[in-house]
Amino acid sequence: MATATDTPATPPPQHTIHILPAPFTHSPLTLLAQGAEALVYRTVFLTPHTPCVLKYRPPKPYRHPILDKRLTKARLLAEARVLVKCRKDGVTVPAVLGLDAENGWMVLEWVEGGSVRGVLDGWVAGGGRFEGVEAGNGVWGLMRRIGRAVGRVHDIGVCHGDLTTSNLMVRTGASAVRGESEGPQTQTQMQRPKRLTPSALREAAMTSDAPPVFELPPEEPPPPPSKAQSTSDLEGDIVLIDFGLATQTVQDEDRAVDLYVLERAFAATHPGAEALFQEVLRSYGESYKGGRSVLRKLEDVRLRGRKRSMLG
């Protein structure tokens, strides 16, 4: 058979571990994820008991340095601005604790819990089936909360830009809100005291003689959880993370593309969950005033994306 041209020979891995810029050069770091753009570490910030996430965007060697600098800086700043705006307007996102755009890093509040992706995979591993889920199952509630969370963020004029089930977290642990709050976001929910502002965080860390933070379970719970376990995993606030591609916009078009990206991520990552995803859209449509017209726009975007003519 013909020989494969294994490309302009892929250079061997040089630096599997990046040297982090100060002040993190000597911090205790646990790599959580190598996302598309960022290396995401768990570490501590300000006090040895304050767990946090360090998001570092190393230069991309494949990208032209000018383009790389432009993109990295713009995205980091945009991400931070959007996070701050979300917090201000009552959307549940991690707080920004520190940032250096020139050197490509940002420190975020630690969110206890797992990604929706992990939760859904866990639910399937625990015996859940996407087809024909009975009405009372907690997974419907999860879908509704996702729909509302996305609706909320759109309502305040932000489009996420990279909605996948990895970028939606379900907050668990003592602080998670148990049970499901039905209906559109109420005033009280919006004004629910914000968790862990930087100062509250600092305070908590200083006053508690709490145990050190370092042995935390991995983010995506690998052992298939028991049924009971997986049900409780479905509860908890939806926290949106990873705003690296977010934009501030109120255009139906942008919002619809956001939903389209999520819809496709869902279809691709969780085969069989199409009916469940309809529930995300339904609750999205009800979650704020502009929701319905975005759903109509989504139909156009689908047609364009999926049935594009070959001739462009």
């Binding site: 058979m1 494969a4 302009p8 891995p13 996302g35 383009l67 496709r264």
Partner: protein, 352 residues
């Protein structure tokens, strides 16, 4: 088993014969012929004329391919043809040839999805077992990963295909179409060194290229040699921006977008292998950038050369034969074509 493959979804007609000796042995390419409908610089190809071209060449190429393969008609197990996606008239003209052969020789037909053809061929040639696939061609831009018997589309273009963008860009700059516009842009880009700002549009695992095209039109007008010197586009250092600089900037921008959406899909599905298929995948700069990205993820990139990247008959024969071996054939009355045929519509019965 031996299959004959016929491909003609765009401006190239490709005929090939492949043999799958046994389950554990790699497939053998017996012959792989292609002819491209030539168009002058600045012009694209129209479906009607392309179909005429394919009709004029199909018999000649089939005869030659069978002769070159050194097989007898009796040895051929099935006739595979491109069912779609692609341009209607060219697809139909080649499907007609396939039906004729099927009746004439009494062989079963297998209708093949063009995109799946690209993917399976790439996998066979490179031995990439379960890669994230970047499929980039004149008509398609998709980021694909396999899961549960389907090739699922994680990301794609929100407007025009990457190859279409490159080809139209080349037309604007009057860069020749022969052998491929993208190839000529690649050669010119090697002489460019100044990076000109172009719209960089990535949304999650999707990308958009129409903005680039609009910008390219404006930029091309600004480097016109007939413009007075003071009106011409210059770099910050006062250097005149050249055609080569524009090609360079185009490549740096759009290929970075492709690598980025591929990397995002790899991060998302947790894969370290990436396979690049489709005509644009033969671009060396794209392959190099992909390699650098994969290296940082401790992974590897797989790519094939122009013979298997650019549309060809072999890939149709190969994917068709894989399907044939699972017992699937296309009945004569179902042997239609379709301009729209999504990658994820195909049931992939031959993979675990």
């Amino acid at each position: 088993m031996i299959a004959l493959g016929l491909e003609g979804s765009a401006n190239k007609i490709g005929i090939g014969l492949i043999s799958h000796p046994s389950a554990n042995e790699p497939p053998i390419v017996l012959s792989n012929l292609r002819h491209t409908y030539p168009t002058p610089p600045g012009e694209g190809f129209l479906p009607k004329d392309t179909a005429i071209h394919h009709r004029a060449w199909v018999v000649r190429l089939i005869k030659q391919a069978v002769r070159q393969a050194g097989v007898k008609i009796e040895d051929i197990d099935c006739i595979c043809y491109t069912k779609g996606p692609g341009m209607g008239a060219p697809l139909q003209s080649v499907a007609l040839a396939a039906r004729t052969l099927s009746l004439l020789w009494g062989k079963p037909l297998v209708g093949v999805n063009h995109c799946v053809g690209h993917i399976e061929m790439g996998r066979a040639i490179t031995h990439a077992s379960n890669p994230v696939v970047l499929y980039v061609s004149g008509g398609n831009t998709q980021v694909i990963a396999y899961s549960a018997q389907r090739y699922r589309i994680f990301g794609e273009t929100l407007d025009i295909a990457i190859g279409n963008c490159i080809d139209r860009f080349a037309r604007t700059l009057m860069i020749p179409n022969d052998p491929f516009p993208g190839y000529n842009v690649e050669q010119l880009a090697k002489k460019g060194k100044n990076l000109v700002d172009m719209p960089y549009a990535v949304k999650g695992m999707d990308a958009s290229f129409s903005g680039i095209l609009a910008a390219a039109d404006l930029l091309a007008a600004q480097i016109d040699e007939n413009l007075p010197l003071e009106k011409r586009l210059k770099t910050e250092d006062g250097e005149l921006v050249t055609k080569a600089d524009l090609c360079f900037s185009l490549q740096e921008t759009i290929y970075a977008m492709l690598v980025e959406i591929t990397e995002r899909a790899m991060a998302h599905v947790g894969s370290t292998q990436v396979l690049v298929v489709g005509g644009v995948g033969s671009n060396k700069r794209l392959q190099q950038m992909m390699g650098l990205m994969a290296r940082d993820r401790r992974g590897s990139v797989f790519a094939t050369d122009e013979r298997f990247c650019i549309d060809n008959g072999i890939m149709i024969a190969h994917a068709g034969l894989l399907e044939f071996k699972t017992g699937v054939t296309t009945k004569l009355e179902d042997s239609t074509c379709t301009q729209r045929f999504r990658t994820d519509e195909v049931f992939v019965g031959w993979r675990d």
